[in-house]
Amino acid sequence: MAVDDKELTPRDTEAFTPTTAGRVGRAGAAALIAWLVLCYPTNILSPFTVGGVEANAASEAIIFAVIGLSLNVLIGYVGTISLGHQAFVGIGAFTSAYVVTEMRQEFFIAALIAALVGAAQAALLGAVSLRVTGLYFGLITLSYGIMTQESIFQIESLTGGTAGQPAPRPIGFESDFRYYYLCLIVLALVVFLDWRLIASKGGRALLALRENPRVAATWGINVKAYTVLGFAISGLFAGLGGALLAHRDTNVVANPFGLNLALVFILMTVIGGLRNRAGVVVGAAFFALLRNGELLEILHVDSLFARDPINLTAEVMPLVLGPILLLLTITLFPGGFGQLTNAVGRWLRGGRFRFVKADKEVQITDVRA
């Protein structure tokens, strides 16, 4: 499936009306996607029966999508990188668990506080990014992530130490199936915020300063303030994602929030397609399902890699497949998953199924440290 390198041809822009069969096919495909997202993981209108494990795996895919959108703000809009994003998420998770368990507050208050704490700590790193840029800022975020896991997450009075902090699910969303819908609601909220960000002055300011801070400044944009704002929004989304992750697992421990996770976050966002909302969501969901083994199980290849002498567990699969997909994204498919979702989106809305040049969004300069 090679990408069409041509500019838009008249064939692409001319008015196109699908045939009756085409309409039926499009409606059918749209219904199938809606069913897959809304019904399949929770056994509604479904000839299949899935268990709580699968529902939890689907929840994780949705949570990763929230985290992907968070990292997209940082890499795609602000134009910097975070190798410590697992700390952003972890801080949200522990904050939410602490507020519910130790302060006896509602989940929704806890999630709000987690989002705000996430935003505050990200803004702090944003302030650092004004002074240190490029590779060395990447190094700072890397250290920040590891430091957070090794020290802050070990403070027993805050995080419960090795036993972890209990994070019960909110009333009404106790079952794995219902919790999936809670995740979907939060994802919808984050998608809305991201859409409004890009459609308003804040998002435009970020895109301008990422590409050309001198021009942004001459247009009256306060480059420093907006950089910090961009970090804060990224931290806000990450905090929400962390809160969802905490209460999905009902107990938070420091162990999963390692560098391994940070790499998966970056891979899924870039391969998803920077600045492409649908692409990032699909890319993140793909990597989550790859990581928790669900995808390999559906394809019946889970035992293929897990045996001697390779012993590849699902958890490391993103780091095996990720670099290959990253290479393909940068060289052949610069829009990542977004190039695919754009083509599908155009087709579903009654257009032709074509990969077009305008969708090639990710540039190699984006992936600079």
Partner: protein, 269 residues
């Protein structure tokens, strides 16, 4: 020239530099530069490459902090203000290498340039407060109107990347107009243009001055263009003001001729 405009009774200084000097390591890029731009004037700044013209712009607009000297705007000392605050006061500038967000469309560029005109808090924008939708509509309309005025309406949803250089220059000018400036600082607006295009640009600048009540400062190597539309002219050389005065006088000044063409005055034109 267009219809003569009534000049203000006494010219008021809009922009002044007082003994502005800047040094980069061992290079004295500007030395005691004093210029004055009056309201409603078009002022040309000429000088050979490396004379310090763009450096002077960078000091005026806030990208460089002068080593010594002050910059005054409307009588206020703005030397220590950051770039975006000077834009807020009414300064608009263009760049030699075209200042646009290349991966966005022309329409998006003009909306971005209206940043200070867009009257809502960025946080309110993110949370989608109803008023932001209204203001956004107004912003889109204004972007369209400016593109229309500049004859670029057909490019509204075209990505900037890859457009011809002349179009980019025009679009950059449109974007700066969208910031609603009082004074335009143009860095080589005529570069890469033939004599005919330069003529058109001159007419356009005169028209824009009428329409937007602008004061214009322009750097250009296109001496015929600058002398035609300027009310006053400065010539910089080696970081110093070589001479200043009415355009025709400056152009014929022997020092200017020498700075541009070397020591042999017979070579002129």
């Amino acid at each position: 020239m267009s219809a003569p405009e009534p000049m203000p009774a006494a010219p008021t200084a809009l922009l002044q530099t007082h003994d502005v000097s800047i040094r980069f390591g061992g290079v004295q890029a500007l030395r005691d530069v004093n210029i004055q731009i009056n309201e409603w004037e078009i002022v040309g700044i000429i000088g050979p490459n490396g004379a310090g013209k763009t450096t002077l712009f960078n000091c005026i607009t806030g990208f460089y902090a002068p080593t010594s000297g002050r910059v005054h705007y409307r009588g206020k000392d703005v030397t220590d203000l950051p770039v975006h605050q000077r834009t807020n006061l009414g300064m608009g500038r263009t760049f030699q290498n075209v200042g646009l967000v290349k991966s966005s469309t022309a329409g998006e560029n003009l909306k971005t340039a209206q940043h200070l005109e867009v009257d809502y808090d960025p946080i309110a924008g993110i949370f989608g407060s109803p008023r932001t939708f209204e203001v956004e509509q107004h912003t889109t309309d204004r972007a369209r109107a400016i593109l229309d005025l500049m004859g670029l309406a057909h490019l509204e949803s075209t990505r900037v990347q890859g457009l011809p250089y002349g179009v980019l220059k025009r679009l950059e000018l449109a974007a700066v107009l969208a910031t609603d400036p009082d004074v335009l600082l143009l860095d080589e607006p005529g570069s890469g243009m033939g004599p005919e295009e330069a003529e058109e640009l001159g007419d356009l600048l005169l028209k824009l001055r009428e329409e937007f009540e602008l004061t214009i400062v322009m750097i250009d190597h296109h001496v015929p263009l600058v002398t035609r539309i300027s009310d006053y002219m400065y010539c910089l050389n080696f970081g110093e003001v070589l001479t200043e005065g009415l355009p025709d006088d400056v152009r014929r000044h022997p020092e200017v001729v020498r700075a541009y063409l070397g020591d042999d005055p017979d070579e002129v034109h």
